[in-house]
Subunit: 576 residues, 2 copies
Amino acid sequence: MNHQELVTRYLSAFIHTLSEHNVRTVVISPGSRSTPLAVLFEEHPDIQTYLDIDERSAGFLALGLAKASAQPVALLCTSGTAAANYYPAVIEAYFSRVPLIIITSDRPYELQHVAAPQTVDQQGMYGRHVKHYSQLELSEHDLSLLDYNQALASRAVAISVGLPRGPVHLNVPLREPLVPGRLNQSCATNATPVHQGVLALGQNQLKAISERIMSAKKGVIICGITDTDARTFGIIELAERAGFPVLADPLSQLRRGTHSMETIIETYDTFLRNEHIASAFDPDLIIRFGAPPVSKAIKLWMEHQTCANFVIDGGMEWRDPICMATEMIYCDEQRFCEDLLPLINKKDGTEWLHSWLTINSTTKTVLSSISGEQLLNEEKVFLKLAEWLPEKANLFVGNSMPIRELDSFLFTHSQSAQIFANRGANGIDGVVSTAVGVALSRQRAILAIGDLSFFHDMNGLLAARQNQANLTIILVNNDGGGIFSFLPQASEKKHFESLFGTPHGLDFAHAAALYDAHYTKISDWGAFDAALDDSQSIDGLNIIEVPTKREDNVEKHHLLQRLLDERFREEVIYES
Amino acid sequence: MNHQELVTRYLSAFIHTLSEHNVRTVVISPGSRSTPLAVLFEEHPDIQTYLDIDERSAGFLALGLAKASAQPVALLCTSGTAAANYYPAVIEAYFSRVPLIIITSDRPYELQHVAAPQTVDQQGMYGRHVKHYSQLELSEHDLSLLDYNQALASRAVAISVGLPRGPVHLNVPLREPLVPGRLNQSCATNATPVHQGVLALGQNQLKAISERIMSAKKGVIICGITDTDARTFGIIELAERAGFPVLADPLSQLRRGTHSMETIIETYDTFLRNEHIASAFDPDLIIRFGAPPVSKAIKLWMEHQTCANFVIDGGMEWRDPICMATEMIYCDEQRFCEDLLPLINKKDGTEWLHSWLTINSTTKTVLSSISGEQLLNEEKVFLKLAEWLPEKANLFVGNSMPIRELDSFLFTHSQSAQIFANRGANGIDGVVSTAVGVALSRQRAILAIGDLSFFHDMNGLLAARQNQANLTIILVNNDGGGIFSFLPQASEKKHFESLFGTPHGLDFAHAAALYDAHYTKISDWGAFDAALDDSQSIDGLNIIEVPTKREDNVEKHHLLQRLLDERFREEVIYES
């Protein structure tokens, strides 16, 4: 067998094995060294390929495709700095538990560290930010390593979808010539099925926990983003039986859907900033599911509690940035609820739960009061967006301010919606591309994003155009870094604007034109409403820009707190 | 002393020490965790700061500033994926020997691996692509670690400018509050001066080498990019005394300047592709300086030689991708020439050198013949550009095709010019930002770049605009990956256009408008000449787009080889 035939056989077997393990999507960036893999992926009947010229955007595009499909997605690039451009997406995937198979083609050993072109040190180049690293090894004499390479593919996928899910890096050194033959169909038999179990507690453990729950009079459930949709398991039933409120992070997906909302609290980030309220709620048990919530208020409130604090994590990590956990429970979230429910007797609607619901509804009324605002401002953008969201909408929210605004204004609703964000490392980078991935995987998506984050990944718009993604982008443009106005840095008047405000003065109409995007710049709320409604029928890229002022943003948040305080005094929830 | 005072003292001392070691330029990306460092850098009277929102571009901007100034340049970013965006520039700096001090602010230890926001594993995150990694350690009780942090700063700079030069990573965990006091002026005394020696050979070693050189009748000197400007040391004198031709890579800087050109050969990449000529030149000694040259023809030619092959490297690496070195000489290039010259007797103009010069001038004539071409094409762009280059021009060339075209058409000229490129890892990423760095450091620069590479780092144009860089960009737009047409992949008709040609169809006029760039799209050569001349008087960003066809490019190169063959036969340099 000649070199070309051997390479074709080896890589065909490798690709078939990936495909048999449900890796059916690959994001490819053009390059020379990756040619055999690129061509064979393109040839494979069951694998869909997307092209993305910018590897940084490609990494996040794959992240979005994997998030939205809940399936492992592969990445392929050529040798050299191309692979380094994946690093931000690899890190986000690692901390947000998204399965990615990162395939970096490489130059062979004899070209390492001898000043050969496009040759860098790719072995283990993502350090501790991948769950696993391996290197393909192609024999150039025979097929003796075929089994090894197939096992390597099986193992790589198994690790990426294993607990906790995450990225895996495979480096593939290839010698020239780099043009493969046709995909070999006859070598797809060796994929090793992997049967992944979940963590389950024993009866004694369950009994002990159920007693703690039943004896708790003032329990609270806090639910951040979970590895599987929290709506699909018994967390609601558990809360209702125990009479506990569920402080539901926007990414928990619990705020919208047809499930019971009788225990869902969504405005805690606003009312827990009120010290009277915060101190009035003194729980005797806190049960946390998923990643820490977006809300900072919840964190500060929890730091003042001394009660038992359970952290449930089927991924066996230590998700406790505030060191408040009194017990770590390593058990699959769904199994935990299912196995526990039979052991919990239904409690009657408690005063405790009632008081949370009362404060919550009062807070909603106050938050909704900004709907009267005439001037364009971020808060009302998110109030309106949340109200408007159509059934089964896929909404991606950027980091920094957008996710916080959505946290404040996404109220419970019976129309389901899937909320996405990059909360592994909370970067403002790669957000556009991740949203494009969601749009491609789910036919249509909406992205709410700030101007700095939009600028950072503007290159992501090319893949959106080239792959015909239906993505509406709500671009909240305050010409700079809005979140810094909320931080102590804002007092640094002398350097603030140059170091933190960072105004760029970009007219994004040109960016829209560059990528053939439908573009609307909003001047009043009527135009915003119309643009939202039109977006449903616009295919391709659609950018709705809302100009806002950074100062307003801060003032508005303070104003809302004052209004809330007044309202609570009126309702005599606490004395003046 | 309170937390703020301690942090201010520690970081002031650190920054003063960097500044005393000639770190006078810092590229800052906005963020929260980096606030104390950002503010104190901004406060420092001797340090110039540049802001760049996109950390990937910022990394390359710093790379360009360091290349052009030959001084170490610092980078500063916040915690999280921001730091990961530096990776491509860090790798390029490592392999191209550019001193960078990468300062990544971090969250403190207690927030590591507990799902805290914007907290990733930054310790040693650039792996083997930095020369050194350390972490600042601030005592929160007293100033007992002041000396340590100052020594750390001294050492970091020493390593980055030591042999070989390269990037160094310093991670800086900081606790809140993050607002510093004013820069402390009274703690700048502890910087430890570092006196860096260079490698020098002993008399016996020099004598042995000089005898080898004098006994060689058909010696060849090959000079790629060197750590210090090859014009400034005795390489030319050495060649003239020994009667050796100097095959001068465009990045060797030897092709332009007021020095003697009597031994300079610049069209070898063209004529060594002619097998008759390649086999006619059979050297008995090859002496290589600097990085391997851009030319692939020189590599293939060298692989057929069996003579002694010296590689001189003052950076003590193994720059021999083709395993042809017979002796590695670890000695400073300048010292090598200076110490050797007295030991070499002047040889009379040799037949050997004469034959190289003859072939070279014939080849120049043939290459120049394309000046008659009416249609726009890449070759003539570079022929004209090279002819036009004004005195002291700073020309940055992109990777993939531009550097190769320049290699063919940059002929010797008495007007000096500095040629820059990113040839450490040869990536197409970050090229715009690196060129912006050169333009900012040298007041004005010209960038010749292809469309894919331009697109990849389009974000780099914002920093250019915000920092008023005077940069003229000659954008050769063949709507896709031109270089692939030269590779065997081109035979892969079935998938070629989608995987390699990757047409994007972008109208870059919109990109120019987005960044307020002066923009001209060329329709004929007259317009190109006018645009080049006008560029001298245009401040800020100036984009000159030349639309070309990928197919033409390949044909043109084949045509030139045919013309060359005919011409050689006419001149009876070899028989038909």
